[in-house]
């Protein structure tokens, strides 16, 4: 899995948003927001050529105090969301 490069993660007023800066038109009325955990993972993964759910779990375990099964469940959910919203290629 690889994250699409046209999205830029920005933090505006404590909100993490993904700006499709590579597109000609950026529609702020329909923008994707991330929660802090997803934003952390995005930041770590956006420059990687490829990653799997295992990579995500590893990152999460390093940063947060959480047990492996919970981390895996969360990561899978985040990844499913990203795929569904067309953020991965």
């Amino acid at each position: 899995m690889k994250l699409k490069q046209q999205f830029e993660l920005q933090c505006v007023c404590d909100e993490y948003i993904l700006i499709p800066a590579g597109d000609d038109n950026v529609d702020f009325s329909n923008i994707i927001g991330l929660n802090p955990v997803a934003a952390f993972l995005w930041e770590q993964l956006h420059s990687r050529e490829s990653f799997t759910v295992d990579t995500m779990v590893e990152l999460l375990l390093q940063e947060y105090e959480v047990d492996e099964p919970t981390a895996r469940e969360d990561c899978q959910m985040i990844l499913d969301c990203w795929v569904e919203m067309g953020l991965c290629e």
């Binding site: 920005q10 505006v12 007023c13 909100e15 948003i17 700006i19 800066a21 000609d24 038109n25 950026v26 529609d27 702020f28 009325s29 923008i31 927001g33 929660n35 955990v37 997803a38 969360d74 959910m77 985040i78 969301c81 569904e84 919203m85």
Partner: protein, 156 residues
Amino acid sequence: MTQERRKIEIENSLFVEQIRNILQRGAEKSVTFTVRGYSMRPFIENLRDKAVLVPPRPPRIGDVVLAQISDDTYALHRIIAIDGDTITLQGDGNSIRATETTTRERIVGTVTAFIRKGRYTSTNSRRWRLYSALWSNTRHIRAFLLTLYKIKKRII
């Protein structure tokens, strides 16, 4: 984590920074955003309609622009006069005595279309030009027309 739709309100000056950041990347760039405020009534309604903004074009009377009108205030208003570098703006829905001034370099972008009640209207379209001409030519009865509009909004 689940997907949900929610509204995020961003303070104007921070939001304008985001818009400027995108528009500075090239002439082909544009941004779409939901309009806040009542000053462009009756065509544009608070939180219902959207504007499509492109990098600043040479200003013309009648254009709607997003511009800085004081240190921390921005307005999406219509150009009603140009005098050298001084540009006078006015909201369609404001009193004809209420104007603001800006300069060419304080214009963040020019509106090329509005999305009103979900319908796309280019500022080049006959519909928009007709509306603009009518609205500008009825300035003397603007207060009366706006009162009618507010009453109609309340009834519906």
